[in-house]
């Protein structure tokens, strides 16, 4: 084997059509880099990602001029795979590649000489690291062509249907006795006006007709073992417990409606104060019209309804009372504005005599078709009032016999005058809170946000994935969203699941820990430091006729975090592709440059 010092590094520096070269003197960088130890060739190109750019690398590899590659260009998230692909096409191992980002980290943020100098430094470090890159093989694991969806609301059902349609078996695990989630509690849905029960009937019919979907209602997952492609779930039913082996998991555990505390806007104190779900249920149960022309609640005609927005949402520290657990819901629940206006419209259109006063902090009818609900409410003569978070309306017993309740509000639309609104019924537009899945999240090491919703890897770039490979999320377990948005997310999570499992094997990046058996003394410091259960353990092995204890990595589970490498007193465990030695060389190169 060649010594590391014999490695021939090719450095390719990109102009990015001016994006880089307008601020970095690319030719000057090339001249400096060329003289660095180990650098065999240094070239520049207008667009390294173009075919001629990639050809430079391929030709130099094929002719034997170089055996390690550094490209200095845009962020690796854009073209790292492009250049690894070029190396593969030249017949070499794609992991002899190192990337230097001189666009986002240099030309877009620095100008003139400092930009040129910083580009030089980053490239020197990359070249120094490249000299110690080893060829690596991707980790290949067999994957079971089976997925488990946890939670059988519309998001769970929709993802199960899409996964099954692609020939992969699915099991839905639902905690309650039936599928459908919160849609079971809703009537006509905002913004389209479709009946929730019609939508459920349609998709549940499809689930029944899909032989590859198994439904486990009344069941909960108690533990999850294994890794991407090979998970084992412990499931507890009402009477029995069983295990399911699966390749991927979709979290679709949804949300619950906010329950106001005793006395919040008179809730629990006055029977005429109800939540939005209670109103929706009453509208579902009510005759389409009444003889009196008034909406009736609890058998009594309702002349005036006051609706209060943002109950249990958009809470502000210092203004709102936290729950016993210290929790404040600082987020907007996103569905209540449309749902409350939708209910107001149904009331006004079915029971013309009933008057509706809508008290909002803001109207957030953000989506397609939702603003039309607001316009319709205006046309329906709903009276709007606006309150500020620090001057919330209060609900009191009325001082006159005409109405049971008075809502007192400092109305921003009436020049902040104090108004008394007499009401027969007060509806609290209660928001959404995530279902409590803290147990499952900690068993699977899934990140949870400070708002208690499950947290994706990246809200824009990887919106339905967890950092744990093979686990996805969809629907309101992630954030407040309406049923349409939950279905979008479900489709995306299903597509990700299918792409992962369809080949039956999964290739994982080889940047994981590796134990040097010549050095490992079995201290086990690494095992204590490892943050991923099952990634690292101590095992007895035979060495030189003796039984010794050594650390062993399960490559498919290792996160490549390096916590183990940092604590090993023997320097016996290290990370492939990111070895300690490489960091040392990078630091030396930075100091020298």
């Amino acid at each position: 084997m060649m010594k590391e010092n014999d490695k021939k590094v090719g450095v390719y520096i990109c102009y990015c059509g001016g994006n880089i070269s307008d601020h970095v003197d690319v030719e000057a960088v090339r001249n400096r880099v060329e003289k660095m130890p180990g650098v065999a060739v240094a070239k520049t190109n207008m667009f390294m990602c173009s075919d001629p750019g990639q050809e430079l690398i391929i030709d130099d590899l094929k002719s034997g001029k170089i055996d390690r590659v550094v490209v200095a260009s845009c962020a690796p998230s854009l073209h790292e795979t492009t250049f690894r692909g070029a190396i593969e096409r030249a017949g070499a191992n794609p992991f002899i590649y190192e990337h230097a980002n001189i666009r986002e980290q240099v030309s877009w943020v620095h100008h003139g000489d400092p930009a040129t100098d910083k580009a030089t430094v980053l490239i020197s470090a990359a070249a120094a690291k490249a000299r110690k890159l080893k060829p690596l093989e991707p980790i290949r694991v067999d994957a079971k062509k089976h997925a488990v969806v946890i939670g059988g609301g519309i998001a769970g059902i929709k993802s199960a249907l899409e996964i099954a349609r692609n020939g992969i078996e699915v099991a839905i695990i639902e905690k309650t006795g039936s599928l459908g989630g919160n849609l079971n509690n809703l009537g006509r849905l905002a913004p389209s006006g479709e009946n929730a029960s019609d939508i459920l009937q349609e998709i549940l019919g499809k689930v029944k007709a899909a032989p590859s979907i198994t439904i486990h209602t009344g069941c909960e997952v108690t533990d999850v073992q294994g890794y991407v492609g090979n998970f084992t779930l412990d499931v507890k039913g009402r009477t029995d417990s069983f295990k399911i082996d699966t390749g991927a998991i979709v979290m679709a555990t949804g949300s619950v409606s906010y329950q106001p505390f005793e006395g919040e806007f008179g809730f629990g104190t006055y029977p005429q104060v109800i939540t939005l779900p209670t109103l929706i249920e009453a509208l579902k149960q009510s005759k389409y019209q009444t003889e009196t022309g008034w909406f009736e609640f609890g058998g009594k005609p309702v002349r005036n309804i006051a609706m209060i927005h943002c109950v249990g949402s958009r809470q502000i520290p210092g203004i709102h009372e936290p729950r016993e657990n210290g929790q404040l819901n600082e987020y907007c629940s996103r569905t209540c504005c449309s749902a409350v206006l939708n209910a107001a419209n149904q009331i006004k259109e079915r029971f013309a005599k009933t008057r509706v006063v809508d008290m909002y902090r803001d109207i957030r009818t953000y989506g397609r078709g939702q603003e039309a609900l607001y316009d319709r409410a205006s046309a329906n003569k709903v009276v709007f009032m606006r309150y500020e978070a620090d001057a919330m309306p209060t609900v009191e017993k009325s001082s006159t016999p005409d109405f049971p309740l008075t809502v007192k509000i400092k109305d921003g639309l009436t020049f902040n005058e104090e108004m008394d609104v007499p009401a027969d019924l007060v509806v609290l537009a209660t928001g959404i809170e995530p279902s409590d899945v803290s147990g499952l999240a900690s068993a699977m090491k899934l990140p949870v946000g400070t708002d208690r919703f499950l947290l994706e890897v990246h809200p824009k770039l990887r919106p339905v994935e967890f950092p744990v490979a093979g686990v996805f999320l969809a629907g309101t377990c992630q954030a407040p969203m309406d049923a349409g948005e939950a279905c979008n997310a479900a489709g995306a999570a299903a597509a990700k699941t299918c792409a992962l499992l369809s080949k039956g094997v999964i290739e994982l990046d080889p940047f994981v820990a590796e134990v040097n058996p010549d050095k490992c003394q079995g201290h086990g410091n690494c095992v204590d430091a490892c943050i991923k259960e099952g990634a690292l353990k101590l095992v007895d092995v035979q060495r030189g006729g003796k039984t010794v204890t050594q650390a062993q990595v399960t490559a498919a589970m290792c996160l490549g975090c390096g916590a183990c490498a940092a604590v090993c007193p023997e320097k016996a465990i290290d990370l492939n592709g990111w070895a300690l030695e490489q960091y040392e060389d990078m630091v030396d190169a930075i100091v020298a440059a």
Binding site: N304, V357, S378, K381, V383, L413, F415, D420, V421
Partner: protein
């Protein structure tokens, strides 16, 4: 402090087209009104929406400053017709003046 009266808007029907609830309180009419008066004419429209009858009667003199130039009606994005409403309110005030 006033108690809102959601029937007032109906009551006004005999004096003018009841377009007041079409108003979404944007304030455009106030911005274009040459009178440059505190929230006029939106204030009057708003008082109709919440049924603040007394407030309208107490501030009735403001109504008589209106030039009926029609700018407000012309620019209102909701076709709430504020100019016509001001005219209607004058009729209402005349009908109710010192009645009680």
């Amino acid at each position: 402090m006033s108690t809102i009266d959601l029937n007032f808007e109906e009551e006004l029907k005999t004096f003018c087209e009841n377009t007041a609830l079409a108003c979404f309180n944007c304030g455009t009419c106030t911005a274009v009104c040459p009178l440059v008066n505190d929230n006029f004419p939106r204030k009057m429209i708003r008082y109709i929406q919440v049924g603040a009858k007394d407030a309208i009667l107490e501030n009735a003199n403001e109504l008589y400053k209106c030039l009926h130039c029609g700018l407000c009606t012309h620019t209102c994005p909701r076709q709430a017709d504020p100019g016509e409403i001001i005219l209607g309110l004058k009729r209402f005030v005349v009908a109710n003046w010192r009645r009680s």
